[in-house]
């Protein structure tokens, strides 16, 4: 077979995906870039023009921006730490010889199938509500004051909700990896007198490195854009306490109706995502390409 023609055929077959994705990414991005240097407010549509970096400067000069940046990283980082650590523990537990492992998997994976608006509204109303929520009822049962989750700990509450949504993903992928670990290796280590902790440290965790990196990569992709959970529960508040960068952009676009500013925020978010992506891909690329 001639390599020349098969290479050409390969290009032709890859082309639709690449072209479509390029358009999907480049056209909106170019428009966002254009708007980000323009004065464009829906409330005063007559006043337009080039404003240079004014929209960007508004973000950098706003204390809310730095808070939003911190909140975004805290949300992504917090959820990653919680889901990976708990995911490892759950995987270790389910991997033990337990009765009804199949049913256990079914229970554990359930949150992954719950769409974000439903997940957020279950937690907001049925659990965290200070009057009617289950947590409030439990607190009253102990004679304590109900905790105002969304008012006093808004970001932590959102991190909790999002962690619940992503824990099944982490736990089940880590479990899959754990099940491929040979038991001979562990038994040999046990006979040589290695404690449970050092078996975890020197055999189990190294074996799971690859699975952990996959979990981190996939979750980061989805977590950077978290929006629905915040929109449903705290609306970014109180104040800006749980406003992330995507949510701050959304507020500029929808509440303030300032398209120019929202666009500048969008470009900043894209740059942030690229910085995160760069580090992730460097650390992870070799693990993914089997």
């Amino acid at each position: 077979m001639s390599t020349q023609s098969s290479r050409l055929a390969a290009r032709v077959m890859v082309a639709p995906s690449v072209v479509l994705l390029f358009i999907w990414m480049a056209v909106p991005l170019a428009m966002t870039l254009y708007y980000s240097f323009r004065l464009y407010r829906l409330l005063s549509p007559d006043r337009t023009g080039w404003v240079g970096f004014t929209n960007y400067l508004w973000f950098f000069n706003s204390p809310d921006f730095w808070l939003a940046l911190w909140n975004t990283l805290a949300l992504v980082g917090g959820v990653l730490v919680i889901t990976v650590v708990l995911g490892i523990l759950i995987a270790l537990l389910i991997d033990q010889p337990v009765k009804g492992q199949g049913m256990l998997r079914i229970l554990v994976i359930a949150p992954f199938f719950v769409m974000p608006p439903v997940a957020a509204s279950i937690w907001e109303n049925l659990f965290m509500h200070p009057q009617n929520g289950l947590f409030a009822a439990i607190a009253r049962g102990f004679g304590a004051q109900p905790i105002l989750f969304l008012e006093e700990y808004p970001l932590l509450s959102v991190i909790g909700i999002v962690s619940w949504e992503w824990l099944p993903f982490a736990a089940l992928i880590l479990l899959t990896s754990l099940q491929s670990l040979s038991s001979e290796q562990l038994e040999a280590a046990e006979m040589d007198g290695a404690s449970a902790l050092s078996r975890l440290r020197y055999i189990i965790l190294p074996h799971m490195t690859r699975a952990i990196t996959v979990v981190i990569l996939i979750q980061t992709i989805f977590l950077l854009g978290i929006f629905g959970e915040i929109f449903t529960t705290t609306q970014g508040g109180p104040g800006s306490a749980s406003t992330t960068l995507p949510y701050m952009i959304f507020k500029q676009a929808i509440a303030a109706k300032d398209i120019g500013r929202a666009a500048a925020g969008g470009i900043i978010a894209v740059i942030l995502a690229n910085i995160v992506a760069y580090f992730l891909m460097r650390g992870i690329g070799r693990h993914l390409d089997a």
Partner: protein, 276 residues
């Protein structure tokens, strides 16, 4: 790694594992239970379980007051349509990348995945305006296109990892027998890769079904799927716990059942072939 353990230890770990699993599942269970209670019983303090007033009224109410079948059908069309279209575009691409890899193939895959890192909110306004210009707002075809493009990188990635595991000799044998490219894909590759294609399909149907940003931004009424239905439902009726729970249960039930039946293939697919 199954290892011999004492019966006592097995009982203890079984109890521990089941407790953890039930805690994780509990919010879903509580929502389903609440959906069968009367409104008064749903907010009773202390919470009622055995003594609750059970009823099916919430479901009847949600059914009669909203156009559930339309939202449901939109969800089916949009999630299945976007996934099938995505597969049609991604299968040739993944085939080419897996069997005729070039120097840039790896970079290309990384670039595709990186397009998913662009926050949707960042490009919301331009995309909305583009869709408005093209007359795609609140149309099923518009959402099929948007969700297809959103999930295309994931589809290409998953297929690529599956195709890579297929030995190239099989394809060469087919070629020796005179099979053309199209025939090779259709009759040789596709049957072998069917399990991989199936789990790619499942995962992306679930992702599309649960997508709740573009579906809300790009629809108003006609093409709105269940994720938009639930968002509109929770806004004005936030205090009607039982009805909200019934509507939520109706929104997630189809995908929950589908997911439960296919969870083994799903988890395997989700690992992107990087976890054996």
């Amino acid at each position: 790694m199954a290892r011999a353990t004492s019966p006592r230890r097995k009982t203890l770990t079984t109890i521990a594992a089941w407790s953890v699993a039930l805690i994780i599942f509990f919010p879903v269970l509580w929502m389903i239970l609440t959906s069968f209670k009367t409104e008064a019983s749903a907010v009773a303090s202390p919470p009622e379980l055995l003594g609750a007033d059970w009823t099916l009224e919430n479901y009847a109410d949600v059914w009669s007051r909203s156009d559930y079948p339309r939202f449901f059908w939109n969800s089916v069309v949009i999630s299945l349509g976007s996934t099938l279209l995505g597969l049609a575009i991604a299968i040739p691409a993944a085939w080419a990348m897996a069997f005729v890899p070039g120097r840039r193939t790896k970079d290309l895959l990384m670039w595709m995945l990186s397009t998913k890192m662009m926050p949707a909110v960042a490009v919301m306004i331009p995309l909305y305006l583009l869709f408005l210009q093209l007359g795609l707002i609140d149309t099923r075809i518009g959402l099929v296109l948007a969700l297809m493009l959103m999930n295309l990188p994931i589809i290409v990635w998953m297929l690529y990892t599956y195709f890579k595991e297929i030995p190239g000799e099989i394809l060469e044998a087919a070629r020796m027998d005179g099979a053309g490219l199209i025939k090779e894909i259709l009759y040789v590759l596709t049957p072998i890769a069917l399990p991989g294609i199936a789990s790619t399909l499942l995962l992306n149907v679930i992702l599309a079904w649960n997508e709740a940003f573009w579906t809300i931004v790009l629809t108003t009424t006609k093409a709105a799927p269940l994720s938009a239905f639930i968002a509109s439902f929770s806004a004005p009726q936030g205090l009607f716990y039982a009805k909200l729970s019934a509507a939520s249960t109706m929104a997630i039930a189809p995908i929950l059942i589908l997911g439960w039946f296919s969870q083994k293939q799903l988890v395997r697919g989700l690992t992107f072939g990087a976890v054996k």
